[in-house]
Amino acid sequence: MLSKINSMALNGLDGYLVEIQTDISPGLPSFEIVGLPDTSVKEAKERIRSAIKNSGFEFPSRRFLINLAPADIKKGGSSFDLPMAIGILIAIGYINENNISNLEKSIFLGEVSLDGSINSINGILPMCIEALHLGIKNVYLPKNNIREASIVKDLNTIPVDNLTQLVNHLNGISTIEKENFDINNLFSCHSTHNLDFADVKGQENIKRALEVSAAGAHNCLLIGSPGSGKTMMARRLPTILPDLTFNEALEITKIHSIAGKLKNNSSLVTTRPFRAPHHNISPSSIIGGGRIPTPGEISLAHFGILFLDELPEFNKNLLELLRTPLEDREVTISRVNSTLTFPCNFMFVGSMNPCMCGYYGSGVKECTCSPESISKYLGKISGPLLDRIDIHIEVKPVQYKKLDSNIKNETSKQIKERVDNARQIQLDRYKDFNIYSNSELTPNLINEFCKINSNGKKILENAFDKLGLSARAYTRILKVARTIADLDNKPNIECTHLAEAIQYRSLDRKYTDKY
């Protein structure tokens, strides 16, 4: 007997419908899966056989053939286990024929374990979104994925615990209890950070620079000696970033869902991601890749922060890979089997020592590096990459007397309020231009929105002459000055804003002026 039921698979960030056709015919006992399954799908036959047997059904000795249509796309993962098992049970006749017609508008997703229970799978959210587009009514999915799926309203999601329960449900013997979640409630429960800028004593200058970068989503680079607090500062950066909008959260959750980074029983990602990969990371894990491409760190940092600690320790070629994603804010990964595009609109934060020994300009310890070794060390960060970093922050270790001081430090909440205001100004200004922040300004838009008066021009000219700034600093300074003006709630860029922006270009100066 033949059965046909529906399931879903993923192609990049989008799902597509897969029809599971099961045929049982007399003949020598065998179990064959066709339709370009990879090993994880082929292995499903052993899981399914055991699961069906252990759920109290009989697995007959017949010839089983399963086809996954469309048959010309490679399929992987364990999400076909449940639909294949149900397909077999229908074909055997365990499910009442009257109920089978209802299954046309249903899809099944899930992995079965040998005892018949259903395990969670990755990529539920994008598949559910696509299911809704295709007009699917019911989605049968693992119980642990239900919170994630419930984000998609208007879709009847049914949490399945085990095979027996599902068969009884389909036969109308018992019904599976649906769980209701209030989506607004899920979204509003922003997880709180346990870090705060108030913990950082002193370093006002760096806090200010980070505030500016957060307000304009500017990429930034922290330069300082070991133990000066670069990493500590960077880890607190998410606490002053603006809250996610629902659509942003949805997009982040989609990516994390595919990559399997969502925790069990979690629904939306409600905080901006902070990704800090170690410097031995491989090119395909930072950009994304694999035979069937999966998102890399840059995509996981979408709408959040990608923090590369000890930047010069990263492979130089790997850093160059970041150039196009930083510019395009999406990355296209081409493999023989498929070419996929993942979004990667992230804020880049790097940290590095000023030289090999780490103490150049620190004032704590004598730098033992020769001028050549300093320029060689700084040369590890290529010009084009530096070109994409708007703000350079020099971090110095804080002295004990300042640690002890009773000066009240601003909390992240206070800083965040200013950042939120500045972002709102930007969102309003750029609503017709399809960009969100000052960092995304194109040369045309810079001409329109970053006008400076003659005094400002004089300051800039002077700065290029006297401070030895490089030409690439020009647009960077204008963008950052725009953000500073927004923080100041001023419609135009004033001299003070420009002058402050110039202070954030340390590496453009002749940094190694050592003889």
């Binding site: 200058n205 300009g361 020099e394 340390s506």
Partner: protein, 333 residues
């Protein structure tokens, strides 16, 4: 060209030193070898203070007509050569290697510059010899031998500079030292040399006075000390007293010759203080010859960070202060 010990044009000052070289390979202006010169030496890895002192002393001594002799190494050596060339002075570089293997390689441009500016390059090694550890130490005796005295700008503990200082002593010549802060690791040896009897110098004129045979007309012997110049003028700017009054005798003293222009230019730069935008004065007053951290400036000024950043940029653009690595600021002299 090669000059042998027996030749008549072998520099007189080198003839009498112990272990004098047998021959000298010379490129450039050979007459310089018999001019009056002073050796300026110091650390390869100098501090900003050392750089500033080296520039100051080289400039002054050049203007007094002395030839600057050094070893063309990186650091103080290179700074002294470069400053001498910039001020149209004469300079001699003594190499630790043959001319075909100029050491250090990165100073090859400086090598050309010295020859083009009518300077002179000297080596006791035939062109194909590479620089080696021993050559460095032997080179030092020629550096001090060619000079009438040796000025040590900055030298760390156990530095090669101390060797040159010792050789200078053996050659019966004077060692001059620029003092350093006690917490400056690059000042350990200079301070020790002073302790052992080297002459502490506070201005270029100190050196000239110590060598009476020179017969150089020393002008404005007072108040030309390095620190005096700046602190006085700075003090003036705060109190708004008249800089032309008797506090600074530079202006009143009777000066002839072209050295005049130099002193005047010094005063002109000091007068800039009066042109400072009064808004910037609060930050300017916090910055001294000691590098100060931006966080300290913020703390001491009680101004907001954006305001401090703005004022610092403006001061930098006015050429009044310099930013050092690590967001530290120092007065520009």
């Amino acid at each position: 060209m090669i000059i042998n010990y027996e030749d008549s044009n072998f520099p007189i000052s080198l003839r009498n030193i112990p272990n004098a070289p047998k021959q000298l390979y010379v490129k450039g202006n050979i007459n310089l070898l018999n001019s009056i010169g002073i050796a300026i030496i110091g650390s390869r890895n100098c501090t900003d203070y050392g750089k500033k002192m080296c520039e100051y002393f080289t400039k002054k001594l050049t203007q007094y007509g002395l030839t600057i002799i050094s070893g063309m190494a990186v650091g103080i050596d290179a700074i002294s050569h470069i400053t001498a060339i910039k001020n149209n002075g004469k300079t001699i570089a003594v190499l630790p290697s043959g001319f075909n293997h100029i050491f250090p390689k990165e100073n090859i441009n400086l090598f050309e510059d010295i020859i083009n500016s009518d300077g002179c390059i000297v080596s006791e090694y035939s062109p194909d010899i590479y620089a080696s550890y021993n050559n460095f130490l032997k080179r030092n005796r020629i550096v001090s031998g060619l000079a009438i005295g040796t000025l040590v700008i900055e030298a760390g503990y156990r530095s090669g500079t101390t060797v040159t200082a010792r050789l200078t002593n053996q050659q019966d010549k004077k060692v001059f030292c620029v003092p350093s802060n006690l917490d400056n690791p690059k000042g350990i040896s200079t301070n020790t040399l002073i302790q052992k009897g080297a002459f502490l110098v506070t201005c270029a004129e100190d050196i000239l006075k110590q060598i009476p045979d020179l017969n150089i007309n020393i002008i404005n012997e007072k108040r030309n000390h390095f620190i005096d110049n700046t602190s006085d003028s700075k003090y003036n700017s705060y109190t708004n007293t008249n800089i032309n009054s008797n506090i600074n005798p530079n202006i009143n003293s009777n000066i002839n010759s072209n050295i005049n222009s130099n002193i005047n230019s010094n005063n002109i730069s000091n007068n800039i203080n009066f042109k400072i935008n009064p808004n910037l004065l609060d930050i300017y007053n916090l910055i001294s010859n000691e590098p100060i951290d931006i966080d300290d400036i913020i703390r001491l000024s009680n101004l907001s960070i954006n305001e401090v950043n703005y004022k610092l940029t403006m001061l930098e653009l006015e050429n009044l202060i310099i930013q050092l690595p690590g967001k530290q600021f120092i007065l520009k002299n």
